[in-house]
Structures are given as C-alpha cells and as structure tokens.
C-alpha cells in the first residue's frame, strides 16, 4: 500500500460530501461558483481513482485497498470495501464519466443548477460504493440508494414524458433488486455471513442455486438490461437530460454486468452452468432482434438506447458462453477470454455510448429536437463536431482500431469456439451496428442543409471540444492498446473462472 490514508473510502465519500456541499451552498453563491465547485470535486475524485490505479498490484486477485469496520455488530454486517481487477476499471470509468457530465451540464442547466450537479456527485459516490462493497448488505444499500438521485435527475430535468419514464425506471429496477435481497437473506441463512467472499463458499444444492440464480438474474437483467426486461431503458434514456443518459449508459448498465461477475457466477456456478443455454439465447435475441429494432428508430436517443441493449447482449454472451467453450475446447483460458471480452465491451461501451449521447446532447442544446428527420447537413455548419461524431459512430459499429472492436472481437472469437452458430448470430451485429449507426449518421450529418435552423448552427466551443477530445483519445487508445485493461483484470478473471468451474455439488 503506497498511502496510509483510506483512499478508497475517500473516493466514495468525497463526492457525496461534495455533492451535499454544492446543493447547500449554490443558493447563496450563485452558478459560477457552484460550477467550479462541482468540477473541483469531480476532478479530485477522478485523481483519487487514478491514484488507486497507480498503486494497484496487477499480479494478485486479492482485494486491495481493503478497509473493514464493524457496522451492525449484532448481525456481523461490516463496512467492508476493497477493489480487485474487475471493480477497478469500472471505478475509473465512473469517475471519468462524472467529470464529463459536470462539464456537459456547465451552461445547459438553468433550473436548480446546484441540485443538478450535487445529484450527480452523490450518485457518483454511490456508484463507486457499489463496485467497492465486499459486504452484501453494504452492496445492496449502495445499489438501491443510487436509484434516488437518478430518479430525481430524470424527473426534474427530463423531457416532456419524464414522470412516466422515471417512475418506470424506478419500479423496474426496484422490482429486480428486492428479489435479490431475498436471495441474499437466504444465502445468509445458509452461510451465516453477509461477507460476499464467504457467500462464494456457501454450500447450496442445485435447486437452491437455481432459485437464487433467477432472483439475481431478475436484478441484473433489468439493470443491464436484457431482453425482455429492457423496455424501461429507451424511455429513461429519451426523457433523461444529457448527463443522465450518459451516466445511465456509461455506468449504470454496467452494474448488471458487474453483478453477474460478483454474485451470479461465483455463488451459483452450477445453476449458471445448467442455465447457460437460457442466458446465451437471451443474449443472442438482444443482439439480433434489438439490432433490428434500433434500425427503425426515428429518435436519435432511442436509437442509441437500443444500440446499448444490443451491445450489452455481447457482455452477457461473453460471460455465459464461457461454460460451453470450456466444454468444447477443454481449455479454461478460453473461458477467461470470453469474460475479459465482456469486460472490455462494458468499458468501451461506457465511453462510446456516453460520447454518442453527448453528441445528441450537443445537437439538442442547439435545435431542441432529437428527431432524425429534423436534421440533415450538420457537417456543413459544424465540421469539427461532425468529425468527432464520425469517430464515435465508427467505434459504435465496431471498427478495428477503436475500443469497440476489441471486446466484440474477443467475444465473437470465444463464441466461435463454443458453437459456430453463436458466432454467426453474434457477428450479425457488425452488419446491423454499422447499418443503424452509420445510417443515422448519414441522415443527420451529411446531405444538404435541411432547414434554416441547421444553417444557423454554431460549431462546438472549447468546452465541448475538451469533452469530445478526452473521449476520442480514450476510445482510440484502448482500441489500439488495450493491454493495460487486460493487465488489471487478468488475475481477478482467472480466479473468477476458477470459481465458476468449482462445483458446489458434492
């Protein structure tokens, strides 16, 4: 450990305290101060998380930066946090995205500005808490608490149908989570501890595992989201303010994937192996069917939302094809490759979908429409913007050299070894993804100037350039050189694969 102060706790609580401070102080000191204040908290949190990365030991799968304090002594619930190679990339993604969200809301939000920024900072703390928790109840608290700021963000600063969208979002995710809570309590009644690592060792029969697996599935499938429980996502995305959409797509969806890796696969390995056909089918349906659905969307945000669901199908495919590929090749490293592919896909999707939502946000701030038909010829008046959006659209369709390619390629490769047809269906996305993204891009950006509003557009300013450059660099760097990510994950994924194939049945 390089530092003596509790750096992980600081990363969680610093933005929360900062958010409360911004909310309380913004009425007195005005917008400008609140802006710089929130940026200060977001950037400092990002630097703290970089410090985590700097001191991270990639050679071990153990939890690092661990902190443990008794919290509710009567039931052995601890404030136990720590990070491993699966959590760390997601934490970095969270802190990075929050900085961009703060910048994106810089001048756009006028109503209750301090509360807007504060809500995102508090949300950031909760999300980091989810990725760090080593105690199931602590995890659950962060997991649920996260809904409250998001509920307010969509409901207060959202579009015309925001109330419907935000209540749907809340009820859907709450529905999944409460059954997860029952499952956690059941495991506790068997293992006698709420620590996640001791839950990994809980002895459970196959039928128990299946029930628990379905309870977890409900929670994580709603969050990720998988077909057929995805319908909240397009509504929430369309109505949310730009910052809300970015956080939803970039980080919140990843919670579902993280949940599969932290809970479903290690706690119920036998049920996961027995039900992998179900998960693979649902993933493939999401990839292909939702890809077609995306193709016909008229609303840019909705299109990107559906594209997110389709891309998250890759994540679950990568995770669950791991069982079959081990059966087909007898090589566990192939399974690890599928899981790493899913992880890379999650990270990369965080950057790309966030970037695309920001692109839509830039257009929406100027024209106040998300309909594709209201645009056309944007490239003539906003050339810099068009170039950035081109890069992100290409990345979304999985162009080699961008981060979108790495994850998809690994997952398809793994799927190919498990079953050729999986790979064929999954590879459809390369065609579909290119079709819906580039077709949208063509209709919005190319062509003659569609209407006078487009003719009067101003190109992106320095603040927006800064946001897009940061994202563009990340997308390209991880596309060309994803090795740092593999380094971080490697040991932890190997340990996870080991747990997945250690049967709990005697």
């Amino acid at each position: 450990m390089i530092l003596n102060f509790p750096i992980l706790s600081a990363t969680i609580w610093f933005p929360i305290v900062g958010g409360l401070w911004v909310i309380c102080s913004s009425r007195q000191v005005g917008h400008t101060f609140a802006r710089w204040n929130s940026l200060f908290f977001a950037v400092t949190t990002f630097l703290l998380s970089m410090l985590l990365w700097y001191g991270f030991d990639t050679s071990t799968a153990d939890m690092q930066y661990g902190e443990l304090f008794p919290w509710i002594g009567a039931f052995g619930i601890d404030y136990a946090i720590g990070v491993d190679g699966i959590a760390l990339p997601l934490i970095l993604l969270t802190t990075f995205t929050t900085v961009l969200v703060v910048l994106a809301g810089w001048v756009v939000i006028e109503d209750r500005f301090g509360m807007y920024m504060g809500a995102f900072l508090i949300l950031e703390g909760f999300m980091i808490g989810v990725f760090c928790s080593l105690d199931a109840i602590l995890f659950y608290i962060f997991w649920e608490a996260m809904l409250i700021p998001m509920f307010l963000i969509i409901g207060i600063w959202g579009g015309p149908e925001r109330v419907y969208a935000t209540i749907k979002f809340f009820l859907y995710t709450f529905m999944g989570s409460v059954f997860m809570l029952v499952a956690l309590l059941y495991i506790y009644s068997k293992s006698g501890s709420f620590s996640i690592s001791s839950m990994h060792d809980a002895v459970l029969s196959l039928s128990e595992q299946k029930w628990i697996f379905f309870a977890f599935l409900l929670a994580f499938a709603v969050k990720i989201p998988m077909w057929p429980v995805h319908t909240w996502l397009p509504d929430a995305h369309v109505e949310a303010p730009t910052g809300g959409s970015v956080i939803l797509a970039a980080v919140m969806l990843k919670m579902g994937g993280y949940g599969f890796l932290r809970f479903s696969l290690p706690i119920t390995p036998d049920a996961a192996a027995a039900l992998d056909w179900l998960m693979i089918s649902l993933s493939l349906i999401a990839i292909v069917y939702i890809g077609f659905v995306a193709l016909v969307q008229q609303d840019m945000k909705k299109l990107i939302a559906y594209s997110s669901i389709s891309h998250m199908g890759f994540v679950t495919l990568g995770f669950f094809v791991a069982f079959q590929v081990a059966g087909a090749t007898g090589d566990l490293s192939q399974s690890a490759m599928g899981i790493e592919g899913g992880m890379i896909q999650m990270i990369s999707h965080g950057f790309i979908s966030g970037a695309l939502f920001l692109c839509v946000g830039v257009l929406y701030d100027r024209i106040h429409s998300r309909q594709i038909k209201d645009y056309g010829g944007v490239a003539n008046t906003m050339p810099t913007f068009a170039a950035f959006m081109m890069l992100f659209a290409m990345a979304n369709s999985g162009l080699p050299g961008t981060s979108g390619f790495v994850g998809e390629f690994l997952v398809i490769l793994t799927a190919f070894k498990a079953n050729v047809w999986y790979a064929v269906l999954a590879a459809m996305t390369l065609i579909l993804g290119a079709a819906y993204t580039l077709w949208m891009y063509k209709r919005v950006v190319f062509g003659g100037v569609g209407n006078p509003e487009i003719a009067n557009l101003k190109d992106i300013d320095g603040r927006e350039k800064l946001i897009f450059s940061a994202l563009a660099i990340t997308v390209l760097v991880f596309g060309v050189w994803p090795a740092p990510l593999f380094d971080i994950m490697g040991a932890s994924v190997d340990q996870l694969v080991d747990q997945m194939f250690r049967s709990k049945l005697l």
Partner: protein
C-alpha cells in the same frame, strides 16, 4: 423494590395529567402556553421517572397484575418521546385555529397513561383496563372537532367498531378464564403448555387475536383506519397513528408470545393470513387515494402487515424485528403527519396530495425531509424504513418462510408507487398556488427536522437500536 416504585412513572403521569386538567380549568383561556408548558413538564418528568426506574430484571407488582420489565420500559420511553413530539406538532396546528388545545393535551396524557398500563399489563384485567382507558380517550380526541361532519362520522365509526372489538376481546378473555380459572398471564401460560389442544383455548385465541388485529388495524379489521385518519384533526391522526402502535405491540407480545406460546402453531397461521391480507389490501388500495391522510392510513395497514411478519416467526429474533419495526414506523408516520400539520393554514388542512405539488420550490428543506420520509416509508435504503423491512424479512427467511418474504417484497414493490407519487408531486410538479410556507414556531420546525434527520441517521447507523431491541427481547423471552 417497593411495589410503588415500580409504577412510579404511571403514578407521576396520572398525577400530572390531573394537574394539567386543573391548570386548564383554573387559568383563563388565554394562557394556553402555560398549560402547554405544564404538559411538557409532565412528559419530561415521566421520561425521567422511566429512566430512573429502568428495571434490570422483570418484577411484578400488585399481585402480579402489573409487570415492570426492560421491554416495557424501553417501549414506554419511546412512547413518551413520541407523545412529547406530538405536543409540539399539535401546537403548530392549534396556533392557526381558534379551538383550544387543552383538550388535546389532557386527553393525550390520559391516553398515554392507558398505553403505559397496557404495555406493562400482566393480567387479563389490566390489559382490558389499559386498553379501554386508551381507546376512550382516542374516541373523544377524534370527535374533538365537533363542527366537522367527517370527524363526527369517523368518531362514531371508531367507537362502534372499537366497542365491538373490545367485546370480542372480552369474550376471548372469558374463555381463557373459563378454561384456566385464572386472569394471571403467567398462570394461563403454564396451563396452555399442559393442555395443548384444548378447543376452548383455540376459540379464545381467535377472539383475542381479533381484538389485537383491530387495535393494529390489520386487514380485514382495518375498516376504521382510513375514516379515522382522514376525519380526525391532523394532530389527532398523528397521535392515533404513532403512539398506540407501540402499546398494541406490547399487548400482542404479552398475549401471543408470553401467554399463548404453547398454541403458537395455531396463531402463527392466523397471523400469517392477517399479514398477507394487510400487505395486499393496504398497498393496493393506497394507490387509489387522493387524500394524503387517507393514503397514509392504507399505508399503515400495509406496514402493520410487515410488522406481523416478525411476530409470526414466534422467535425472539422475530419479536425483536417487530419491535424495531414498530419504533421506526411510529417515527416515520409521525413525521409524515407532521409535514401535513406544518403546511396547514387556518383555512386549508393541506391534506390533499395536490397541496404538496411544487413543495421543492416553496421550501427545499421541508421537501428534502418529505423525500426522506417517503423513501423511508417505501423501504428504500439508506433510510430507517429499509432496515425495518430488512430485519423482518431476514427473520422470516431464517424461519423458513422464504416464499412469504418473496410475497412481502412483491407487495412492497406495489407500495413504492404511491410513495414515489408524493415525491413526484413535491419535486417534479409546479405549485398551483405559490404560497409561502405558513408561519411556524421554531419548536415545530426543530421537531420536524429532528424527526426527519432521525430517520436518516437511523438508516445510516441502525446498529444500536437493533442491538437494544435484540437485548430486550432476548431477556424477555429468556
């Protein structure tokens, strides 16, 4: 210890209630503040007495009709704390009205006396005595606003149904007495263990349970709850909705867990049915309400269902979970009604959901407190209401009723909707009338803020209250 010291808090309360009565008669009607001061001092004295006489082990007084034990004293301390807060809320309400608040204070003090007797009752007779003292005061309090048709209707409904429930309870008691020849709970408990399946026992049990269910307001004995909550003046609703639940919990525990423990196989099934019906009816019907007080009434019905889940496990951990639940629930419900009182003006009771629209722009702090209260009632972490549900569910799962826990969370999911609707009104909608928050006293604001913040702090650090409930219950059931 001398018998009298055991009932010192009760004796103090009785004496002080009489003094408040005298003060309000002798002083001119303009000096409400003085009467209020005396009533507050009365409650503080009782609290001091409770702390001073906190028993380490259980002792009986007056030939075993009264039992002083840790569980009783702990509940009484919370009870008196809630009574104290309700006085401050009531002052806010009566400040804007011509009606005098002396009646409220006196009746509330006598009702509190009834509750304290009920909590410590260790004989069928004392139970009935405490229950009737409590109920009669409540009937009168509901009818206090004599010009209101709604209040009169509510009071009559409450009285008629309450009398019926008392009759049922007495009938059940008479059967127990018939079988055992004793009124003492300890002696009855011994005989239930010996003669397990005596049919009269089970018969008596059914009637006792009806009496208990009525007091809690669990479905299908909840018919009085919505009318009384809506019709009564808001401070009375606040009082009826919080403090008596603690007393009812003690009564349920002494009758079911202590006395009829030998019949637990039988009453567990009945309690289970009551709990599930309550959760279903309360949560579903609350969705259709437009009056906040009525909505909270149905939410009470649902919450009492969750409370019953802890009792039905028939284990000391389950009882501790229920005790935690009832304390947290009383705090939350007090806060929710407190918000209605603070927003009320002389002409507008502000008990319609619409009255809360756009509260976030009118008063951000009050809106934030309401946010805490609503999410806590819905059972969303990190607020105390989550831990209450969590604790109960944990014990239900530990007792082997995992399917029941699944049903319970399903209904809580339905419940979330109507609490979210209140948050939606407060934060997402614009105010129809952009009136400022009516004048409030510093005391009222302080109590309301403390109330909301307690919910938040208990949500972050529920450990000590949980440990207290556990310790009390483990010593109670031995």
């Amino acid at each position: 210890m001398h018998e009298f010291t055991l009932v010192l808090p009760e004796a103090t309360l009785a004496a002080m209630a009489c003094i408040v009565l005298l003060v309000s008669v002798l002083r001119s009607s303009r000096s409400q503040a003085f009467t209020f001061g005396v009533a507050v001092v009365a409650v503080l004295l009782v609290l001091a007495g409770l702390a001073f006489t906190f028993p380490t082990n259980s002792e009986d007084a007056f030939n075993g009709t009264f039992r002083a034990d840790a569980m009783g004293s702990a509940l009484k301390i919370f009870l008196m704390g809630i009574v104290l807060c309700s006085f401050f809320y009531a002052r806010e309400y009566f400040m804007h009205r011509e009606r005098l608040m002396e009646d409220f204070l006196i009746l509330a003090l006598f009702a509190a006396l009834g509750m304290m007797v009920l909590i410590s009752a260790h004989s069928l007779l004392t139970i009935y005595l405490g229950l009737e003292l409590l109920s009669l005061c409540l009937y009168a309090m509901v009818a206090m606003d004599r010009d209101s048709i709604l209040a009169s209707e509510a009071a009559i409904k409450y009285f008629v149904l309450g009398a019926l429930a008392s009759g049922m309870l007495l009938y059940g008691m008479s059967m127990l007495y018939g079988v055992t020849g004793s009124l003492d709970l300890g002696l009855i408990a011994k005989q239930t263990v010996e003669a397990e399946d005596h049919i009269l026992f089970i018969f008596g049990l059914v009637f006792l349970l009806i009496g208990i269910a009525f007091k809690f307001g669990v479905a299908p004995f909840h018919m009085w709850v919505p009318d009384v909550y809506q019709g009564a003046p808001t401070p009375v609703t606040l009082f009826v909705g919080s403090a008596p639940k603690l007393a009812a919990f003690a009564m349920a525990l002494r009758l079911l867990a202590d006395t009829l423990n030998g019949l637990s196989d039988h009453w567990q099934q009945m309690v289970l049915l009551l709990a599930v019906t309550s959760m279903a009816i309360g949560n579903i019907v609350a969705i259709a309400q437009t009056n906040l007080k009525r909505m909270l009434a149905y939410s009470t019905v649902a919450h009492m269902g969750y409370l019953f889940l802890g009792i039905l496990t028939a284990s000391s951990l389950g009882y501790a979970a229920s005790m935690f639940y009832v304390i947290v629930y009383a705090l939350m419900s007090m806060g929710a009604f407190g918000a209605i009182i603070i927003l009320a003006t002389a002409t507008n009771e502000s008990d319609q959901l619409q009255d809360f629209a756009g509260l976030a722009t009118r008063s951000p702090w009050m809106a934030f407190m309401m946010l805490i209260l609503m999410f806590s009632l819905a059972g969303v972490p990190p607020f105390a209401g989550f831990w209450a549900k969590w604790f109960v569910l944990k014990e239900v799962v530990a007792a082997g009723y995992t399917w029941l826990a699944a049903i319970a969370v399903f209904f809580s999911l339905i419940g979330v909707y109507y609490y979210l609707r209140v948050v939606k009104l407060i934060y997402f909608d614009r105010a129809e009338v952009s009136t400022a928050i009516p004048d409030t006293t510093a005391g009222g604001r302080l109590v309301f803020s403390l109330n909301g913040l307690t919910i938040l702090v208990l949500g972050l650090f529920p450990g000590s209250l949980m440990s207290m409930c556990l310790a009390v219950m483990l010593t109670h059931t031995g």
